[in-house]
Point group: D2
C-alpha cells in the first residue's frame, strides 16, 4: 500500500500534501492502532494483562499490516471502522502469540479508538496549520512594513472612498491571522483530549483500576486526560471545526482582496508568476488568480461543514446515531480545505506582485474624488456635516460631468473660499497628509 | 489503474459501489474525454476539421491512457483539471497523428469540458437513484399493504398519542418517496443540459458555424441543448443538489422512525438481521441500526453541502472565482451520500423485522391513554372541547396514578355517564374503530 | 392593532411591504383563523355540526378580535400558537353562542391549523414573487434587446477575457429568471396542499365522514387535497424553500455583476440614481449600490435557512419535536428575504444606468489583449493549440511590457505572417466579428 | 414607543424577555446613540470640538426621541440605519444648539456606529447568557450529585448497552456547560472591542489626534481598544457566533436526552409539570416536552446562521458589500435563540421530574442483557474477546427467545462454568459493582 497515494484528483489542488497524508486512509488506520497499542501498554502497566501480551499486541499495531479494502468492507456491516480493525488486529496477534490476542481492545469500545485516533490526527493537523500560519504572519508583517507608506485607494461598497496605504490593508490581514493563531492554540488546549470510556462511557470494565489506566493511556498518547469520557459531548470536536472555520474565513478575506486588486481594470497586485500558473485553455493572455480561487472555494465550503458538525451535536444518550457518523469524513475535510487555503495564501502573500505606480495612478486618476471626505470633514467644522456634504457632493458631480479635478471644481465656490484658504484646501488634497494616519496604524500593529 | 479502486475507507459505508464508480477519478476523466471526443466529431461534421483528425482525437479519448497523478499535479498549477487533461490529450494525439493534434479542444474552454463532463456523470447518477428509488417505492407499498390494519401507537412530540396503523406510517414514507421520484425526473429534464460556450460563453470562435456545432455536440452526448451557455448561471447544478437534498431528508425520516421503533424499550421494528451486522466491539447483545445511522448521517451532511452550492451561485461575470471551484467536489459528495442513504433504506425497508404483537402491547400497555382523544372528542360534541378535555385529563391522571385503565377511570364520572352509554364508551375504546380511518387512508394511497 | 406595523427596523430594507404584510403576526393569526372557519363550515356541510354553530364560529374568525400579546404568552406554555388561539376563539364564540363553542377546532389538531395557515401565507407569498418575477423578466428582456450589440469585455476569473455584448450578459440573467419562474409554478402545484389529519394524522375523529370533510375543507380554502396528511413529511415545505433559494441565488448573480460593473475602476453600469440613494455618512462622492447589497446579503442568508429546513426534515413519528418548531420563523424569513432581493433587483434592472462608451473604452484600452484568443484559435488550425498559444502569449507579454497594441506585437512575428495575411489578422481584431455570436445568442433567447 | 413591545408572536417562545429587550429595535437605536454620545465627548476631550457642543449632542442621544418608522424608511434608501439616525440626530441637536449640530458624527463612518453599537448589545447579551449558564451549571451539579448512584440503562445507538448512573449522564451535561462558560468568557475578551476607523478605517479625519480620541472613546464605552479598525475583518463577530453555536449544540444535547427519556415507553424523566404546560389541542393525556422542543429547534436553526456569518467573512476591501449587511439581523437572531434554548434548559434541569424506579425497572426488565458486556469482558481474559463475545451473544439470543434471564442462559454453558464460579458470575450481574465506576466519575467531576 502506497501510504502517500493520491486520494482524489483535486486533493492536491484544494489541500496540501502533508495535510492529505495526515488524513489519509493509512493515517486513519495508524492513529487507531496507536490507540490500541497504548491501551495494551497502559493496561499492562496497570497489571491488567501480562507485559508480554502488551508487547505482542504493540508489535502488530502497524497500518502496513492491514488491508484497507477489507477494513472498508467490514465497516459496511459493522457500521464503523474500529470493529473490523480490532478483529483484524486480533487475528494478527493470535498468529504470533495466541494468548495475547485475548487482550486486544480489552475494556475499550469502538468509539474510544475512533475518537482518540481522530484526536491524534487533529493534533498533527493543527501543528501543520500552526506552522503555515506562522509563515503567513511573517509574510504579512514583511509586506505591511514594506508598503506602510504606499498610497492606495481605500474602497468601500466596491467604490473608491478615501486614500489609505497598502500597508494598512495588509495590516488587517496580519491582525486577523494573529487572532487565528491565538484561537488555534486555545482550541488545541481545550479540545484535544483522550477519549476513553468503554461501552457506555463509564470505564466499568476496569472497575477500580480505571482511573490509573486512563492516566497511563493519556501519558502514552501524550494527550491530556479529560474530566469525563465525551462520547456524546461533541463540543470539543465542533470547536476545532469552528476555529478552522474562522481561519478559513480570514484567508478568504485575503483572497477576496487579492482577486479584486488583480482585476484587469485595477491591476494593482497579482498572484506570483510561475510558468503554467493560472493559464487558460483558450486565452493566451490570461493569468488567473489560482491561489485566491482555492481559498475562496474553501471559504464557500467550510461554513456548511462547520454547520453540519454544530447541528450534529445533540447526540443521543451515551453514543449517538447519525450525528457521530456524520463527523467521520467532515472533520478531515475541514482540515484539508483549511490547509489548502492557508498554503495557497502563504504562497500568494509571500510572492505577491505589487504595482505601486498603478495604485497611485488609480487613486489620482479619479479627479481627486477620494479627497471629498477630507474636504467635507474640514468644512463640516464650520458648516455642519450636512451643508458641507451637500456642497462637496455638488462639486464632485461637476468634477465628474466636466472631467475636471475636484480641487478645481471646489475652487470656484465662494462659500468654501470663505472658510478654507487656497493653501488649506491644497493641504486637504495632500496625499502624505491623507495617508499619514494609515502609516501610523500600520507601524503600530507591527510593533505589537 | 484500477478503475474500481476504493477511494476512501468509508466510501462503501456511506455510499454504494455503483455511485462511487460513477464519481470516481476515472469516471471524471472519462466524462471530460467524452466531451472532447464529441466536440471533435461535431466540429468535423460542421466542416471545421477533417474527419480523420476527429477520428484521431476520438481514438485517444480513453481515460485508461491518462495518468491521474500527473493530471492532479497539473491541476494545482493551472487551477483546473481540464487544462492538464487537454494538454495530455494533445500529446497523445500528436504522437499518433501530429496534424490532428492541432484540433484538440478547438473552440472550447475548460469549463465546457468540466461542466459537460459533470452533467454526464450526474445523468448516470440520477439513473442510479431513480432505479433504487423505484425499489424503495415498491418496498414501501408492499409493507404499507401488508400492515394496513396493524395497530400501532401514533406518537407526537415523542409521546404516545392515538392509535393508528403501521401501514399508515409506511404510507407516509411511500408518499414522500413518490414525490422525490417526480422531482428527480423534473429536475433531470430541466437541469441536465450541454455546457458549451467557449472562452466567454459566446461561442465566438465558431463564428456562424456555432449553432450547428452545438446541435451536433448535444446530439453526440445525447444531452439537450440549452438556450444559452451557463458558465455562471449555476441554478441547474444547484437544483440537482436541492432535489437530492429533499430526497435525503425524506430518507432520513424513514431512518428516524426505524431507529426510534427499534429502541430497546419500544422494540416494534428492527433492521434486517445478518451475521455481523450492527455488532458492537464490546457488547455481545447489541444489534445496532447501521442502515439508519448511514441515512441519518447523510441527512446531517447533505443540507450543509446544498447550502454551499446555493451560496456559491452568485458567480462573477462570465466565469466565477471561488464559487465554481467550490462545486467540483461538493456535487459528487451529495450524489455519493444520497446513494448511500437510499441504498441503505432500500435494504432496511425491504428487510424490516416487524413485531406486531409488541406494537399492540405497547399500545394497550398504556392503560388506554391513547383513547383519551377519542373519548374527549365524543364528549366535546355535548360539553365543548374544553370541558371535555378537562374531564378526560383528570381521568387520565387518575388512571396513571392508580394504575388503572382509562375506561375504568371514566366509568365513575357521572357527567360522562349522562352523555355516553357504557356501550358507546366501549365503542370509543375499540381498536378497530379507532384504526379504520388509518386503514382507509393507507389503502387510498396504494390505489393511487 | 395596526396590521401594517413595522416589525423590525430592517424589514423594509431587506424585504418589501407586501411580503412583510403577508408574513406579519396579524396575517399569521388570520391564516390560522381562516382554517378554523373553513373547518367549521366543512364539518357543518358534512353534517357533523349545526350550520348555525358553523356560522357562529366563522363570524369570530377575524384576527382583529385577538390579542397577539396574549397569544404570544400562551404559546410559551403550550409550545405552539394554535393552542392559545383555539382557546381564545372558543371563548369568543361562547360569548356569542355558547353551544357553538363546543364545535370549535373539532377533530383537528394544532398542526392542522398551523400548517394550513402557513400554506395559505405561502400561496400569497408565491403570488407576490411570481408577479415581481414577471417584471424582472420583462426588464431583463428589454435590456438584453437594447444592448444586444453593445460590446463589453467578457471577464473570467475576474480577468478580461474576450469581447462579448452586454446584451448577452443580461440574457444570462433573463434565462435564469425564466427557469425560476417555471420552478416557482411547479413547486406551487406540488407543494401547496391542505394539511388536515387530526391527532395522529389519521382523521380518526371523523370516522367514515373524514374523506368528505377533507374534500369540503380543501374546497373552502381553495387548496388541493393531499394524498395523505403530512405532519412529519416536510418535503413540500422544504421544496418551497429550495425553490426560493435558487431564485435568490440567481438574483445574487445579477447583483454580483452589477456591483462589479459599478466599481469606480470599471464604471460601466450603476444602480439607478435617486436623491439620497446610496449616500455615505462621510463621503460625499459615494453612490453605494444599495440594491445589490440587499440581494447579495439575501444570497448569503437564505442558503443557511434552506439548510435548516432540509436538516429538519427527519421528524419523529407522527409529529416532530424540534424540527417542526424550527420551521415556524424560518419559512417566513426566506420569503421576506427573497421578496427583498427580488424587489431590489427589479428596481435595479429597470433603472440601470449604462455607460456603453466606458464599456467600449475598457475593452479597447487593454491593448487588444481581449483578441488574443481569437488570434490564437485562428493560428491553432495551422499550428496546433499549444504552439499558437505560446506564440500569442509571448506577444501579449510584449504588448504589456512595451505598452503597444497586440496587433502590433503580432505583426512582427514571421511564423504568424506566413499563416495570416494582414487582412486576415485585422479581421480577427474586428469587434463586430468578435461580438456577432453574442448578438446571435442574445436575440435567440429573446425569441424563445 | 413601548420599549418592551412584543416584536414577533414567537419571540417569547423561542427567546427570553431580557434578551429580546437587548436586541429590540429600541436597544439597537440606543446602542448606536451611545456610540455617538461617546464620540462627541471623546472628541471634545481631544480638543476637537467645544465641550458645550459635546453636551448638546449627548443630551439628544436618547432613543425615545427618535421615530423608528422614519429610521426604517430612511434605511431603505441609504442602505443602513446609521445614516438616517445621524441625520435625525443632527436635526434634533440643531433645534437645541445649532452650532453644535456641525459636530455630530464628526470623523466617523456609519459602520463605526453600527458595529460599536452591536458590540455593546452583544456585551449585554453575553452577560445574560453568562448568568443563565451559571444557573444551568448549578442545576446540573445538584442533579448529578443527587443521582450519582442511581442506576439507569446506558444506551448507545438508541439500544440499551450497559448500566451507568443517571448522575453520570448529567455530569456530561455539566462538563459541556462548564466548557461553554469558559468559551463565552474567552470569546468576550477577544471579540468585544471598539469599532472606530472613519471612512476607510484609517482614522484619517483626526490626523494626529486620532489615537488619543480612540483611547477616550474606548474608555467612555468601557470597551477595549482594538489593534486596528476591523470593518472588513469579521472574525470577532463570527467568533461570538461560533461560541454561541457550541453552547446551543450542548443545550440541544440535554434536550435530546430529556426528550428521549420522557418518551411514553421509557418514562424515566419528564419536564417540569405546570398547569397548561405542554398540553395538546386534541389529546388530554399529553404533556409535551415544550422546553426540549425549543432547545432542539434552536439547535437546528443556529448552525445555519453560524454558517452564514462564516461564509460572509471574506468582505471586500475596506468595507464589504453583502457580507456585512448579512450580519445585521443574523447576529441578534443567534443571541435570541441561544437565550431561549438556555432559559428553557435551566427551567427543565432545575425542575426535572425523575423516576428512579422506572430507570431501575427498564434496566432490569431487559432480562439482564445489559450485563452481557460485563460477562463477556470477564470471559475475554481467558477466552479472548472473540470467543467470549460469541458465547455470550448466543446466550443473549437464548435469553431473548426463551424470555429467560441472561444469568440463567449462561448458567448452562460448560465452557463458562470452567472459568467463572457461580459467585463470580453473580458478581458480574451486581448493579452496584457495575455502576460504581459511574459514581466515581460523577463525584470526580463534582470535585473539580
Amino acid at each position: 500500500m502506497n501510504t502517500h497515494a493520491r486520494q482524489g484528483l483535486l486533493d492536491l489542488l484544494f489541500s496540501t500534501e502533508p495535510m492529505r497524508d495526515t488524513f489519509s486512509d493509512h493515517a486513519r488506520i495508524q492513529a487507531m492502532l496507536d490507540f490500541e497499542r497504548a491501551l495494551a501498554m497502559a493496561s499492562a502497566d496497570g497489571g491488567l494483562l501480562p507485559s508480554e501480551a502488551a508487547s505482542a499486541i504493540a508489535s502488530q499495531c502497524d497500518a502496513q499490516r492491514f488491508n484497507p479494502d477489507e477494513l472498508a468492507r467490514g465497516a459496511t456491516l459493522a457500521g464503523n471502522l474500529a470493529i473490523p480493525l480490532v478483529d483484524a488486529l486480533t487475528d494478527l496477534v493470535s498468529r504470533e502469540d495466541e494468548p495475547a490476542a485475548r487482550f486486544v481492545h480489552w475494556g475499550a469500545t469502538s468509539q474510544d479508538a475512533i475518537d482518540s485516533g481522530l484526536v491524534l490526527q487533529m493534533r498533527q493537523g493543527l501543528d501543520l496549520l500552526d506552522s503555515d500560519l506562522a509563515r503567513l504572519i511573517g509574510a504579512c508583517a514583511k509586506l505591511a512594513h514594506e508598503y506602510a507608506k504606499t498610497p492606495i485607494a481605500g474602497r468601500t461598497w466596491l467604490q473608491q472612498a478615501t486614500p489609505i496605504t497598502f500597508g494598512l490593508k495588509v495590516a488587517g490581514w496580519l491582525s486577523a491571522a494573529r487572532r487565528s493563531q491565538s484561537r488555534l492554540r486555545d482550541t488545541r488546549n481545550r479540545a484535544l483530549t483522550l477519549q476513553f470510556g468503554g461501552a457506555s462511557g463509564s470505564l466499568a470494565t476496569f472497575g477500580e483500576a480505571g482511573p490509573a489506566v486512563v492516566v497511563k493511556l493519556a501519558a502514552y498518547l501524550e494527550l491530556p486526560k479529560p474530566d469525563l469520557p465525551w462520547h456524546t459531548q461533541r463540543d470539543r470536536i465542533a470547536e476545532v471545526a469552528t476555529t478552522l472555520g474562522l481561519l478559513v474565513g480570514s484567508l478568504g478575506k485575503i483572497a477576496r482582496d487579492v482577486s479584486l486588486l488583480s482585476q484587469s481594470e485595477v491591476a494593482e497586485a497579482s498572484e506570483p508568476h510561475a510558468a503554467g500558473r493560472g493559464v487558460s485553455s483558450s486565452m493566451p493572455q490570461k493569468r488567473n488568480p489560482v491561489g485566491s480561487a482555492v481559498a475562496l472555494a474553501a471559504a464557500q465550503r467550510v461554513p456548511g461543514l462547520v454547520a453540519t458538525l454544530l447541528a450534529a451535536m445533540p447526540q443521543e444518550h451515551e453514543r449517538g446515531l447519525g450525528g457521530w457518523q456524520a463527523e467521520w469524513d467532515v472533520v478531515p475535510e475541514i482540515f484539508l480545505l483549511a490547509a489548502g487555503a492557508l498554503g495557497r495564501m502563504v504562497e500568494v502573500v509571500e510572492g505577491l506582485t505589487i504595482d505601486s505606480e498603478r495604485m497611485r495612478a488609480n487613486l489620482e486618476g479619479a479627479n481627486g474624488l477620494l479627497y471629498a471626505e477630507s474636504v467635507s470633514s474640514a468644512l463640516a467644522r464650520s458648516l455642519g456635516r450636512k451643508r458641507a456634504q451637500d456642497l462637496v457632493r455638488d462639486a464632485t458631480r461637476r468634477a465628474t460631468t466636466d472631467s475636471i479635478h475636484l480641487r478645481q471644481a471646489l475652487a470656484s465656490i465662494p462659500e468654501i473660499e470663505e472658510i478654507l484658504s487656497p493653501g488649506a484646501l491644497d493641504a486637504l488634497f495632500d496625499i502624505h497628509q491623507a495617508t499619514a494616519p494609515s502609516e501610523r496604524l500600520t507601524l503600530g500593529i507591527l510593533d505589537d
